[in-house]
Amino acid sequence: ACSTEAPDSGKAGKGGSDGKITLGFAQVGAESGWRTANTKSVQDAAKKAGITLKFSDAQQKQENQIKAIRTFIQQKVDVIAFSPVVESGWDTVLKEAKDAGIPVILTDRAVDSKDTSLYKTFLGSDFVKEGRSAGEWLAKEYADEEGPVNIVELQGTTGSAPANDRRAGFAEIVEKDDKFKVVASQTGDFTRAKGKEVMQAFLKSHKDIDVLYAHNDDMALGAIQAIEEAGKKPGEDIKIISIDGIKDAFVAMTEGKINVVVECNPLLGDQLMDLTKKVADGQSVPPRVETEEGVFTQDQAAEALPTRQY
């Protein structure tokens, strides 16, 4: 008996009566400063837009995210948004959401469902493109120089989507030219400590490193310390390319220690709330909304630094 009553009472309590939209947002976790900024942006924007936010943190586990989405369905939220931990494996739960008539918005990362009716829109960045931008900067920088250019790569967590994509995008460009050689590539788990440790080992086993490509700023910042301790000048002796664009990276850029940062913007809260309102209203939305992102070099860094929020 209870099961038949519950949905009704739930419906009455939520979106229906007071006209306030409830958004269920299933976040990946809080694995990095970038992610925290992302979460904060969503939470702040929801408050500003007057949307009730049901927030759930999956601690980096897909199964937890799926559970959270099921709970949202159970709670009869109006819209579900989530940043998928990984592209695959969402069909079942998204179908349940669809059956329950709850629209879904993807943020930050896409899912690979064939059935695109399972979600309304995607809002976020393209990791492959970020990798490509990094590669393109490098190709341009070394356009006139003779090879070989020895590159070391600090990968993100093995198997994680950003690590896979940023690596692939970068490789795509770099492989076009024989003079670029990736001499070593290791995972630094997206952390400063690991970045430093791995870079220190690279410096010992490879004497002639020209370029460091780090999948995120934290690893780059760790690596910079290792390079300095080895008596080299980061940014000069070894050129450094990094992704994300956190404040500390911009500081390092103004000090000349990082050469270029490819931005990956976490601040998509406002855009998300806009989309939520539209979707809840039943308006049509574009299937793909990309966030505004740039490539920052040292000369732009000083000027952009004060505006960095995270």
């Binding site: 209870c2 519950a6 601690q59 199964e63 709970t71 494996g89 079942t92 690590a163």
Partner: protein, 341 residues
């Protein structure tokens, strides 16, 4: 040596109260855990709209079917006084192999699943064999197994593999409806069957009783002429098999294979087992307790999701806090104090 005293007269009669309470004593933790679980659920229902529904309970099963299967396997190992850290990785490896066979190699699900289960069981048996034959601590051997299985996932692919094979999708999305529109997934049925089988095996077969004896005292079990070696190998094989099956269920759950699936699940499985009242030192515990343990972890998760206002870190703190409250109440209610003072 004969004493001339009638045996029956001199034979001490033991106070019956003692016997009675001791017999039930072993089951008290189980009852306490169940009571606390119900209490937790009640509190959730009072606090959150939509919490008090049968479907929430069923979702608990749907969402934790694979963990239940894995934890059941872990229970066998823990009952012998061992530990299996490889379960999470074996789950991931199983999702990976299933997905790549079905998706990339074009195998049918019916062919892939038995192979995956066989690999899991064989891997477990191998670890058990090493542990037994070379007398290496299970912690290290299964840790190596954990590394190996996770590493093999990466060598298959660092990308996740989506499955769109119609049979697999069909099974994964099949819902068995009951009265009132309530539903469960196929995995739930499988998990419950596994639980039932495990219960029967542990409590009603020679092998199962051997598992308890082995956990009680390995030397004694050997001296009593029990097949200690094969029992050990078998429990790790069962754990491997359950992990592989858990992996298959997870493949259904996620419809994908991914190297980063089931990260840290070994701890969840061990925690569920221990919360369910099984002693990590072996020899004491019930597989039904493990099921309760899984439900406890699942309920905590559900409560958190229903709360829906916790930041990432508060999520963790509250999970820890709820666990703490649960454990402390469980301890106090079972009334056993530490043997230390």
């Amino acid at each position: 040596m004969s004493t001339g005293i009638a045996n029956t007269a001199a034979r001490p009669t033991r106070p019956p109260s003692r016997t009675g309470s001791r017999g039930a004593g072993t089951r008290i933790p189980l009852i306490v855990t169940a009571v606390l679980l119900v209490a937790m659920f009640t509190v959730g229902s009072l606090r959150y709209d939509g919490f008090f529904s049968t479907q929430v309970v069923l979702n608990l099963l749907i969402d934790n079917a694979f963990l239940l299967v894995v934890a059941v396997g872990a229970t066998f190992v823990i009952l012998t006084g061992g530990i299996d850290l490889s379960v999470g990785s074996v789950v991931a490896l199983s999702t990976m192999i299933t997905a790549s066979l079905v998706q990339h190699q074009g195998w049918s699900l019916g062919a892939a699943v038995p192979l995956v289960l066989a690999i899991g069981a064989a891997g477990g048996a191998l670890m058990g064999w090493i542990i037994h034959t070379f007398e290496i601590q299970p912690f290290i051997v299964t840790l190596a197994g954990m590394f190996l299985a996770r590493g093999l996932c990466y060598t298959i692919s660092t990308e996740s593999i989506t499955i769109d094979d119609p049979t697999t999708v069909g099974i994964a999305q099949a819902r068995l409806y009951g009265p009132g529109g309530l539903f469960v997934s196929v995995s739930v049925i499988i998990a419950l069957v596994v639980l039932l089988i495990a219960f029967v095996v542990l409590h009603h077969t020679r092998f199962g009783r051997g598992v308890y004896a082995l956990g009680g005292n390995e030397t004694s079990a050997r001296l009593m002429g029990l097949p200690v070696g094969s029992t050990k190998v078998a429990v790790y094989a069962i754990s491997g098999l359950c992990s592989a099956l858990g992996g298959v269920l997870m493949t259904f759950y996620m419809l994908s294979g991914y190297a980063l699936h089931a990260m840290g699940m070994e701890l969840d499985a061990i925690a569920a087992t221990v919360i369910g009242g099984t002693l990590l030192t072996g020899g004491s515990g019930f597989v039904l307790g493990t099921a309760l343990g899984v439900l406890v972890l699942g309920t905590i998760q559900t409560v958190i999701n229903f709360q829906g206002t916790l930041s990432s870190w508060w999520t963790r703190i509250v999970i820890g806090g709820l666990l703490l409250v649960f454990i402390v109440l469980q301890r106090l209610m079972t009334g056993r104090r530490a043997s230390t003072d």
